[in-house]
């Protein structure tokens, strides 16, 4: 298929286990909705990843919910959700009209609720489930399943038992043991790792001496966190056999290529869409043009090609 801007005919397809994507560009959960169809044809994307669904309806956090930062933003939206029934009856039919595979992000406060929701969303029309085990806003002090290997293995084991669909684990950078957490998710049967989520942060208005977010703390995203996400992507790709999907601060073609070279098989774009809603469409075009220019026939020729330097001896 010819690209709409560049005319490139490069094959951008990648596989994530059994799931074949026509290109490696997809939205990050929480930064994407049907509203973006006002701006471009969403079927150019490799996949559609919805905002995290929880079983019951939720109002979300008090405002202010976002805060402008240097090279990024803080958010504490709080997963406002219209609940599972709304997803099943309204959202699933809408998204099923697209050709791009639908990835449903789910979360819950407890293992039982998480497992139940995982079974419920395993419906025809859903291509994969992304388990948001890392959102730092859900519970007090930003605690999340993916902060520790044992709780990661517990929750992913429960979810694995509830679905035959591809099951992705969305990891958090807010852990001191990212490799052990990644291995725990793999051991529990995850089909892919999404690396990573927002970095827990805070900002204070010095005039009023009040936090700039209604929730006090929130998740940092955008170009400022890209080195952290890239480092974790590299670590997880080195340590695990299952596909890694890079996520964190990606906004340019160079960012996409860095994550692919570090070992990601696909990438998610989030905050960049807020700054420039045409970003993902542009990245698909630019990747094809870059592959043409560099005579690269398959994205597989890029993935995981990072060259680690030989260690010298300091004398």
């Amino acid at each position: 298929m010819r690209d709409f801007i560049t005319g490139s005919t490069a094959d951008l397809s990648v596989s994530l286990g059994d799931l074949r994507l026509k290109n490696p560009i997809m939205p990050a959960s929480g930064t994407f909705s049907e509203d973006l169809s006002d701006v471009f044809d969403l079927d150019v994307l490799g996949a559609h990843v919805l905002k995290t669904i929880m079983h019951d309806t939720r109002a979300g956090n008090p405002t202010p919910r976002v805060c402008d930062m240097q090279s990024g933003m803080l958010n504490a939206i709080g997963i406002p959700s219209k609940g599972f029934a709304y997803f099943r009856d309204e959202m699933l039919p809408y998204w099923s009209a697209y050709r791009a595979p639908l990835v449903v992000s789910i979360s819950a406060h407890s293992l039982d609720d998480f497992a139940r929701l995982c079974a419920e969303v395993s419906l025809p029309g859903v291509a994969a489930i992304e388990a948001n085990i890392s959102c730092p806003n859900i519970e007090a002090d930003g605690k999340a399943f993916a902060m520790r290997p044992d709780t990661t293995e517990q929750v992913m084991t429960r979810l694995r038992a509830e679905t035959d669909l591809p099951l992705w684990a969305k990891l958090t950078p807010n852990t001191g043991e990212p490799v052990d957490v990644a291995r725990a998710a793999q051991a529990a049967g995850a089909d892919a790792l999404v690396v990573a989520n927002t970095v827990l942060g805070m900002s204070i208005d010095i005039t009023t001496r009040t936090p700039r977010l209604g929730n006090v703390m929130g998740g940092m995203s955008g170009p400022a966190i890209k080195p952290i996400a890239l480092r974790m992507t590299y670590q997880c790709a080195q340590a695990c056999d299952i596909p890694v999907i890079g996520c964190g601060g990606i906004s340019t073609l160079e960012d996409v290529l860095e994550f692919l070279i570090a070992g990601a098989r696909a990438v998610q774009v989030g905050t960049a869409t807020f700054q420039s809603p045409t970003t993902m469409a542009r990245l698909v075009s630019e990747l094809g043009a870059w592959m043409d220019t560099n005579n690269i026939r398959s994205v597989d020729e890029i993935i995981g090609t990072v060259q680690a330097p030989e260690a010298g001896v300091f004398e």
């Binding site: 709409f4 909705s33 700054q275």
Partner: protein, 281 residues
Amino acid sequence: MTFTPTVLPVPAPQGLSLRCFEARCRVISNTPVNGEYRLLVLDAPAEVLDCQPGQFFQLLCPQPEGETPFLRRPMSIYGFDAAQGRLEFLYKVTGAGTRGLATLRPDDAFNVLGPLGQGFSMQDDWQHLMLVARGVGLATLAPLARMAQEKGRKLTAICSARRPELAMSVDLFESYGAEVIVVHDQNASSTPEALRPLIEARIAAGQVDAFYTCGSARLLRLLQDLGAKHGIPGEIAMEQQMACGLGMCQACVRQFRVGDRLIQRRVCREGPVFPIEEAIV
């Protein structure tokens, strides 16, 4: 070097038209209009000029020295003219984003996203309109004047400001045939206590079918009270801090009172224009 403003190329869905665009506009002028406000005039592509009064754009503000605004800044439309390819914003320099806007020079390229949100309505039986607004809220209501003239409606504009010379859009309202009443803080004519009899006299004379407002909690409460008492509907353009401006991020929610229920709505998507009686400030 000059250039032709264009929208950024995107894949369009077959058989459907896109609702808003990222556009690379050209700055025509960016000049102070009084001690507090500046007017930015852009040469804009036709795709972004199918606007409704009350809609807004998300502006990708340049970085002023020493500051780094990251997210776009929402700004209501002050003027638009598809025939001339003109898009205008009236703004007050208050933060990093608007300080960045103030650095724009003629012929600079400037990226805008829009038009966004739901604009003002003007129902058929709203023949005599009254707008009551303050400060930069008057800029948001300015495009209503042309719409009223085009639809053959009578318009009374009560323009409130701290000082009479800071009342925005007075000439513009008059040029579209509106009756303009300037009220200000220096002679206390802008207080709700002073405005109430002024507005009620016109209601008694059958000269108010609908209200429009923006920019003042006190004015909103006054109009809510008068509207309920006299059965007069109206619309308000509201503000909230935003990230995406399209509805995806759900940052810009506000509470609204609908009957006896509290409803959460996104200012960018379901608004920024809402029924006056449902607004909560």
